[in-house]
Amino acid sequence: MSELFDLLVEHPFFKGMSAEQVRVVADTGMPVSYREGETIFSEGGHADACWLLLDGDVALELQTPGHGPQVMQTLHAGEILGWAWMFPPYRWHFDAHVHSDTETIRFDGPRLRNAAEADPVLGYELMKRFTRILVDRMQSIRIQLLDVYSTPR
């Protein structure tokens, strides 16, 4: 088994998946480093990957006319970056801007999709995990939209 497999099988995100399922996922991954200031992907670009952040910080940003990039959320070590590779039309919804030097495992989106199509049990395991990410981020954005810390008048 590879170092990457050993890393993934111990990671909370993959907890509950069989060794074979993790091996299939690991086969689509490779270590990639990004320097502070780099852009990993841009809004509207083709969504063909997701990343497990091992170290560093990445900001999800939206460009706003007249105000420059606004940070919607930051992601940190242990978190997953990118879910748009799962759903047509496979376009990024935000920019991913590297806040500090970042170490990642980059997973190939099309290969993951093919693996999920070929093995629906693996596909369901992946869907459960990425749906959890989507739900958590949706809840976060809802709370942020409520602006709960503003002054009540």
Binding site: P69, V71, I143, Q144, L146, T151, R153
Partner: protein
Amino acid sequence: MHPVPCRVRSVVRELDDTFTLDLEPPSDDWSFVPGQFTMLYAFGVGEVPISISGDPGDPTRLVQTIRAVGPVSDALTSVVAGDVVGVRGPFGTAWPMEFAEGRDLLIMTGGIGLAPLRPAILHTLEHRDRYGNVTLLYGARSPEDLLFADQLQQWRGRFDLEVLITVDHADRMWRGPVGVVTSLINRASFDPESAVALVCGPEIMMRFTIQELERSGMTEDRLYVSMERNMKCGIGLCGHCQLGKFFVCKDGPVLSCAAMTGACWTREV
């Protein structure tokens, strides 16, 4: 229970709408425990409950942090050094500082909720050897809205206190996390099997925080919140601050989630 006239020693503008008053205490034997509040009276305007935000180890000062949200708090945030305000109290229950001894302590707060927790933080730092890992998770609206920013910076410099701060909105100049305060839980060092959590902030923030802490493995008997209701008398007689079976002014403001048995989730209570 008449208000005792107390002179304002100094006023610090913390944020655009938030001020900290340093008052002469109401009596020579003044003392309070972290979590308590007073009823502050702006003469001729009215009275409001305000959490004590100062050091419980310093009986020579009564420090209160006020956000201007209405006529009385507007009047209280307009005072200057030398003015006199009325004080009743201290009232209410305390954060469970003794119960938390020997355990990890997780302090989660958002917005002006940091003010009622500052006495607990100062107490913890004064008696640091009594606690395990101590972590402060603080969420604010934006980098410009961080309360006690200088003190947060000092605390971040300590090796015996983990301070993680997030904001809801920011541009690229902010180098820290952006997101809700619950997103910091995974980054905090605490044992969910035994840690105690102190939570204070807007009620919606507290509800979601409790859910996330329970998801992390904490149980409601170790989760404490500071509730805010329409406190009037301060001694549990008038009923204005009723929350289920509790009068928040007397039985609270600090309540354990176990004792509340879902009152936090009951609408119109």
